[in-house]
């Protein structure tokens, strides 16, 4: 029995592409949940989703120029993040309107460029839904490098980012550079999106940013606990999803997101204090007593 389980777990690791995929998944699962904690707490899910879609033209142009798609995505995501930040700060349009305009325009531009390329549909599928099993060694290093930079920034600026998210007025009183820190957070989210793109793809990106962090939110009462628990859930989901896709032969990105969602539903129903079941039980108790 134990040998069977071991065999079940070890079998996929005989393939180098699976090992690379697993490593990438673990990194992405961790990174997304940590940065995603801010996305959840600040209500930036739409921003994250838009950012993921808006990098399509960058990818398309990199494809045309035959350079690593990563660089196209990187440049485009930074431009979009800062662009949305700038446009919504002007105050003529609301933030979600600014996001909507930029997001749709970029997506259209990306599709337009890609549609001029012959045989683009296969690659488009990979871009939209991810292809974690196609992660190359170079991709892995880029993911690790950028991922470490983002995590370092989150750790080193933990108390500052916490304050600007919880109470911007206090941040101003403390003379923290509120704008710089807000933009920095946008850039950190942008980098996370780029790093995670190959694993989950454009369409499912927002799930990695939001779902593990939201699950952790239901289970904790401190931000750094939320980040750690979120990272564990994100990593577990990524690995489980990858095994699922290996054995059941479903698309890896979709499998990862479905496992994440299952965790979320469990927490939503059964989380102590914040879960639905407990709330319901408490209400019942109150009625009885």
């Amino acid at each position: 029995m134990l040998a069977d389980i071991a065999e079940f777990l070890i079998e996929p690791l005989r393939y180098p592409f699976m090992v690379r995929g697993l490593l990438a998944s673990v990194m992405v699962g961790t990174l997304c949940a940590v940065v995603g904690s801010y996305v959840v707490l600040r209500g930036m899910a739409f921003f994250g989703d838009a950012l993921a879609h808006a990098i399509l033209p960058g990818i398309a142009i990199a494809y045309l120029l035959e350079i690593n798609l990563f660089w196209g995505a990187l440049v485009m995501s930074l431009v979009t993040a800062v662009g949305i930040g700038y446009l919504s700060r002007q105050g003529q349009v609301k933030e979600d309107t600014a996001i909507g305009v930029i997001f749709a325009a970029c997506l259209a531009l990306g599709v337009a460029i890609l549609s001029t390329i012959q045989g683009y549909s296969v690659d488009l599928t990979h871009i939209l839904f991810g292809n974690v099993l196609g992660v190359s060694e170079t991709d892995l290093w880029l993911t690790a490098g950028l991922g470490i930079i983002v995590l370092l920034a989150v750790v080193l600026l933990y108390k500052e980012l916490l304050v600007i998210s919880f109470d911007p007025i206090l941040a101003a009183t403390l003379r923290l550079p509120l704008n710089v820190l807000n933009y920095l957070l946008l850039v950190l989210i942008a980098l996370t999106v780029v790093v995670s793109l190959q694993t989950v793809g454009v369409a499912l990106m927002v799930a990695m940013l939001v779902t593990p962090a939201a699950t952790a939110y239901l289970l904790t009462r401190r931000l750094w606990h939320m980040m750690i628990i979120g990272a564990v859930i994100g990593t577990l989901s990524s690995v489980a999803g990858l095994y699922l896709s290996f054995y059941v032969n479903v698309a890896s990105g979709a499998a990862v997101v479905l496992v994440c969602t299952a965790f979320f539903l469990l927490a939503f129903l059964f989380a102590p204090s914040r879960g639905t079941i407990w709330t319901w039980l408490r209400q019942k108790q109150v009625k009885i007593s």
């Binding site: 080193l156 998210s165 911007p168 007025i169 206090l170 009183t173 403390l174 009462r221 401190r222 931000l223």
Partner: protein
């Protein structure tokens, strides 16, 4: 004595209209100032402009080196945010800790002392959303103390807070006066402002009156601040204002 705070000709414009027009006043160390006015009078704007969160078109603020501590309006805070009482108080230490630094034992000690001072030390590990309104206000006062702020700005601390909690907050303010902490408190409750504060600022975009409550509140200044809503019946302003001020039976505690 030199004032600890001098606001001179402060003017803030929003969407083409004056939210604050030429507001000037000064505050002595340790004084407790109530800022009273109708909704939209610019009470929050005044505080936000003073700490630099809102850009002022004109005017100056001198604090003589004193630091502002801000007790945020309860409706402006996300109470489901995953932070504990201890975390919130520790936020006040951030500028003392400096960039890229973690809290040291001394910071934790100060945070603990500040919690003791507001009587919230037993709640350090609670998530802030689990506290009552008055307890939340006390935690935010502790945060300002941890910041070593000497001018406390409190935005509507008594809104949605029961009478015992209100008393507890006023008592803490009284203790803090002995430490030389000055407090500016915005409130809707004119009764309270008149009875419990050293000075009263009557605000409606302009500073209509400023001084000891008995001098600042007159039929004329009230009419200027509240327009037709203000009623005046002889000397008994407290009674009458209690009626206007929506809180049902005037709450007197002597």
């Amino acid at each position: 004595m030199t004032p600890i705070l001098k606001v001179h000709n402060l003017t803030v414009r929003y969407n083409g209209r004056d939210a604050l027009a030429g507001v000037s006043f000064s505050v002595q160390p340790g004084e407790r100032v109530a800022i009273v006015g109708p909704n939209g009078a610019g009470k929050s704007t005044l505080f936000r402009a003073m700490v630099g969160l809102i850009h002022a078109q004109a005017g100056s603020i001198e604090t003589n080196g004193a630091e502002f501590g801000y007790v945020t309006q309860r409706s402006a805070v996300d109470w489901s945010f995953p932070v504990t009482v201890h975390d919130v108080v520790m936020m006040g230490r951030i500028s003392r800790m400096g960039w890229l630094r973690w809290q040291r034992p001394r910071d934790r000690e100060i945070a603990q002392q500040c919690l003791v001072q507001v009587g919230m030390q037993d709640y350090a590990d609670r998530q802030i959303g689990e506290l009552s309104g008055g307890q939340q206000q006390r935690v935010f006062i502790a945060r300002a103390l941890a910041q070593e702020a000497t001018i406390l700005l409190m935005d509507e601390p008594f809104t949605g807070v029961d009478t015992p909690s209100q008393e507890a907050i006023l008592e803490i303010l009284e203790q803090m006066r002995d430490q030389g902490v000055t407090a500016l408190v915005s409130t809707h409750d004119l009764n309270l402002a008149v009875e419990r504060f050293d000075r009263l600022a009557l605000l409606n975009r302009q500073l209509i009156a400023y001084g000891p409550p008995s001098q600042a509140v007159t039929p004329g200044t009230l009419a200027a601040a509240y327009g037709g809503q203000a009623l005046w019946r002889g000397d008994d302003y407290a009674m009458v204002l209690g009626d206007i001020d929506c809180c049902g039976e005037g709450e007197h505690h002597h």
